[in-house]
Amino acid sequence: MVEFTPLGSTVGGVCIGLAAGLLLFCNGRIAGVSGIVGGLFGSSLAEFGWRMAFVLGLLGGGWIALAWVQTTHAPPEGSPLSTTGLIVAGVLVGLGTRLARGCTSGHGVCGISRFSPRSFSATAIFMATAAAVVFVTRHVLA
């Protein structure tokens, strides 16, 4: 069971917005995780450097934050998927976000903040598709 967490989620969202603002202010870059990670492959050394630094920052921040969360809350429950399911889902997420040139952060937060019609469309499509998949897996097949 999961609880409704409006305060934690809003504070978390504000952190994400501030982090994206910091990257734009200092580096002039959009904080889209799929774009930053996808751009690691076949990039120049200068490009690789800041991208890898962002990913290492994600790991460092995640390490500290998850360690803190686990001492105060129950550990997060894992994914309900089998290994095959995880592989299929992972490939779809990697392929889809690069094809659409953005994910929840690049389109869902940064793009919508700039009122980009592409980002509004992408966000509506991936939200609707994901909700449809959850409906089928939880209420039709289950």
Binding site: P6, I16, G17, A19, A65, I87, A89, G96, I125, R138
Partner: protein, 152 residues
């Protein structure tokens, strides 16, 4: 070096936000997407909080002539709403709905060293690299080159 420090700091704060908001918790994400079940609206607050901060902040930053540490802003090049966007967002939505994990939280969850996080990120990188390879191959195919020549 300063650009890397700034990028590291941004990634660090971003990850703290993801954990704090509940986005790294697959079942919480799936509960947000489960409108017909025991719906948990928390994740709407994540997007709301992030956009409420980034929308005014990015407008203010965009008025500056340059970023602090780089010569230019790297804005996305203008594009139409094309097939790639629609198909890509659809495929991503299917994967997100199956696993409850999107790219940012997937990377963050690597620190748990859990097998599901490792398998998911490995597969995600495979998907990303495959598309990169496909894009490069398809732009060097003869018919595509001719088509691009026609358009130009």
């Amino acid at each position: 070096m300063p650009t890397r420090v700034a990028a590291f700091a941004a990634g660090f704060i971003f990850a703290v936000g993801l954990v704090c908001s509940g986005m790294t918790h697959p079942l919480k994400v799936l509960a947000f997407l489960d409108f017909a079940g025991d719906w948990d609206p928390s994740l709407a607050f994540v997007m709301g909080g992030a956009i409420a901060v980034y929308a005014p902040l990015s407008r203010w930053i965009a008025r500056r002539p340059t970023p602090l540490l780089e010569p230019t802003f790297d804005w996305p090049e203008p594009r139409r709403i094309d097939t790639e966007l629609v198909v890509g967002a659809g495929l991503f939505g299917i994967g997100w709905g199956l696993a409850g994990v999107c790219p940012g939280p997937a990377i963050v969850n690597l620190v748990t060293l859990g097998s599901s996080a490792l398998v998911f990120v490995g597969s995600m990188l495979l998907g990303m690299v495959s598309l990169e390879v496909w894009r490069r191959v398809s732009t060097t195919l003869p018919e595509r080159r001719m088509k691009q020549a026609d358009e130009a």
